[in-house]
Symmetry: C2
Subunit: 473 residues, 2 copies
């Protein structure tokens, strides 16, 4: 980390911890320069980064302030503790979400789609276009089941950002993170097995559990620090848990980053009880702070962590290129990958390898991190203003999702039905739970918050939610 | 069918049935014109088509002859009858095949890769390239789980060629035929279930059975007409078979087309014993005769046939676009597809929809059918000349694969080891059987038979096989 990043990190932590309050003036550039013994321009760079991340607000001739919008609404409540492993339901509601194309007439405010309109994506599209015209075996034929070696080399390089040491041979390219997670589950579990999960949790994994006949044990999960390790340990004493599946860095849907100490402690628990960890890191590169958080895999010494990721959230979902580093389960995962789809498409793999190899991934990430950090501030402000009093919202540390919790008894599926005539759709909370909990919650996407119509749509959702709540006896 | 196609069909059947023998002169254009009451040019067109398919040979000023190369070697033997359902092995050998990239230094004579160098493929590449540059949600984001509607419409239209009536809503786009087959098996079976299969059979399906913990019951399969229905009925009496999986049109690896009457009878058996049929039609459009064979699905009245296909053999495997029409199992298959990979890539779906919509698929198919039909003749001739006496070969009616059977005791895995220093690889027969039968067989690919080096490689394989056989005591 450079000097200015260190300083930005320090100031950011102080703001987030509330040492400076919303509306308060921050120390001047000169004062900070003297305090930390760095140049004026270093302080200015640090402030610019904080501004990009939505943590400070410049006012002409007055200096930098903590934005008023940082007067945060309350956090969502910790999910009730798991009672027992359950079978997964909710496929119908998931199908409503994923059976609607995002380029149609309905504004999908809830789906996990990044902003794909950034100019920093153009070189990738140019690579794709150029490689498409080549009429050669390498682009048009099958590759090998492990995936294109050129891309696996680049993925191994990028993994160093999360302190994860991988060789290209440790990595298998998949058809999105979806296939990575699915292959991981199949490599480890037999029908009837129990998998512990964070809660709320990604609906794709929930449905994979359902499809394989596995049971989910939902763990109480703190909206700032992730799964409760004591609860997990109690569950491990009580149930024959085969694996734990979680999204510890920039969680979906809550957005938290699990503290490093907890990640390490989780790994120790997994060692003690000899279970596998399926780590979904798909949003990890989109942490607002740089450098990005470490992966659990980075602490792994005996190959029990299966690290799953993809370029669907950082670049474009349509590429359908993900990857898995399955540790000691490599051979099993390779078989499951072959069985599921044979090979992954060569063209996007080759284009991605070029894009990353030319050093274009990090600049794109920088841009998106800033945009999403500002989006979080803006979306939080809109929700605070437009939703009924008492609405709780998450404080994501990365990614582009906000988790919104309304009063008990609120029904987000009903909300979607009322929004249908307005051609707006949110992701109902129930699909993030095996047994359909979180009906009073919903997920909102702020990736494209700057686009026309988003603010009005969010206000419409808030107003409709208020009407729905007012209806109740 | 037009007049000339009718006539070509009639003459072709006579030649294949041996009514005209290799080297024999065929009736003159004038004689046929009078016999069938058609114009001279119609007869000439028919002869040109037969020439394209390698069934006749023009000799200047003498007329048309049956090629001498049609002196066919003996057919492979019918596989020994199944004794019982078995678990699948052979993953290591499959991995040797699919873990080697086809664009590397090894000439993969055995892998199922079509010729992707035809000029008729260029418009598809141009579409891909043009769509790649568009930076819009439709190309870059997730689609919907069923797949792009524009492509499903085109697939429904093409299905009419096999007399299969499908609506776009009956079709789910998949990541290659591999995912279609895998989702079909998962939609129908539970671990421990028995699936009846043709034998030899596609190694991808064998490995899917293995991965899902299913058992394979291999049915005796005739190299000209496919699975033995009496044997299937006996097996159905004896075992609780859940589904039958087969490739009835242009079978892989044997190349036969199951007669229509047998297809119909198989469906009746499935109705009587209430089982599902998973029909792999991936090579069906590459039948040498036009119109192509009917699908079993085309006879299906109660939705028990899951028709699986893709554009991997007809256009390019690297697109990774396949499809499934799962009949009454649509909802289960949709769930399995979501669970496996979420969505399939949008770009290749949109490019394919354009290519087919512009009427460019059929001209490409015509070209490839002719090339592969001639390839069959040439490859058969090379094998007849270069392999040890007594070698048996299949008589494919479509596709680009030849199945070669050597004397009992021959070991095609050993053959591959001896070929390794020459950088040549064949597909060993054992991967086409659940229990590793057919070690004395191998599969050869003649898609690119016109390319430099193929003939020499086939001759090298034959010579090495002869050495290997001579070694034996």
């Amino acid at each position: 980390m450079t000097l200015y990043m260190n300083l930005a990190e320090l100031l950011g932590t102080r703001i987030e911890q509330g040492l400076y309050r919303p509306g308060e003036r921050l120390p001047s550039v000169r004062a900070l320069s003297q305090e930390h013994g760095v140049s004026l321009s270093t302080v200015q760079q640090a402030y610019r980064q904080l501004e990009d991340n939505g943590l400070v607000e410049p006012r002409p001739k007055s200096g930098y302030f903590v934005p008023l919008s940082r007067q945060k609404p309350a956090l969502p409540q910790v999910g009730r503790a798991a009672q027992r492993p359950v079978e997964v339901s909710q496929w119908d509601q998931v199908l409503e979400l994923v059976g609607t194309p995002p380029y149609g007439e309905v504004l999908q405010l809830g789906r996990g789609i990044p902003d794909v309109s950034a100019p920093t994506l153009k070189p990738l599209l140019r690579s794709l276009s150029r490689l498409s015209r080549r009429q050669s075996l390498r682009e048009l034929s099958y590759g090998c089941v492990e995936g294109e070696i050129l891309l696996r080399e680049q993925v191994a390089r990028l993994a160093l950002d999360s302190a994860t040491r991988l060789a290209p041979e440790d990595i298998v390219i998949t058809t999105g993170c979806h296939e990575a997670l699915s292959a991981a589950l199949r490599a480890i579990c037999q029908p009837g097995d129990i998998v512990a999960v964070d809660s709320p949790s990604f609906h794709g994994v929930m449905q994979a559990l359902k499809g394989f006949g596995l049971k989910a044990l939902e763990l109480p999960t703190d909206p700032l620090s992730g799964i409760n390790l004591e609860a997990l340990e109690m569950a491990l004493e009580q149930w024959p848990i085969k694996a734990i599946q979680l999204t510890p860095s920039c969680n979906n849907p809550l957005g938290y980053v699990m503290p490093e100490a907890n990640k390490h402690a989780l790994l120790e628990l997994a060692q003690r009880y000899d279970l596998a960890i399926i780590e979904d890191d798909i949003y990890g590169d989109l942490a607002y702070r740089y450098p990005r958080p470490r992966s659990i895999k980075s602490f792994d010494e005996d190959g029990r962590v299966l690290l799953c990721s993809s370029f669907s959230k950082t670049l474009a979902p349509g590429l359908r290129i993900g990857w898995i580093a399955p540790g000691r389960y490599l051979q099993r995962v390779l078989h499951m990958k072959y069985m599921g789809t044979g090979m992954s498409a060569q063209l996007p793999q080759l284009a991605l390898a070029e894009f990353i190899g030319e050093g274009l991934y990090q600049p794109h990430l920088r841009r998106m991190r800033g945009q999403y950090a500002r989006g979080r501030e803006q979306m939080t402000a809109w929700v605070s203003q437009a939703f009924p009093a008492g609405t709780r919202v998450s404080q994501p540390q990365g990614g582009f999702m906000l988790w919104v919790e309304l009063a008990q008894g609120f029904d987000s599926q009903r909300l979607n039905r009322l929004l249908a005539p307005h051609r707006i759709q949110v992701a109902p909370g129930s699909i993030f739970s095996a047994a359909g909990k979180y009906r009073n919650c919903l997920r909102l996407n702020f990736a494209t918050w700057q686009q026309a119509g988003i603010e009005a749509a969010v206000r419409r959702v808030g107003a409709t939610a208020a009407e729905l709540l007012a209806e109740r006896p």
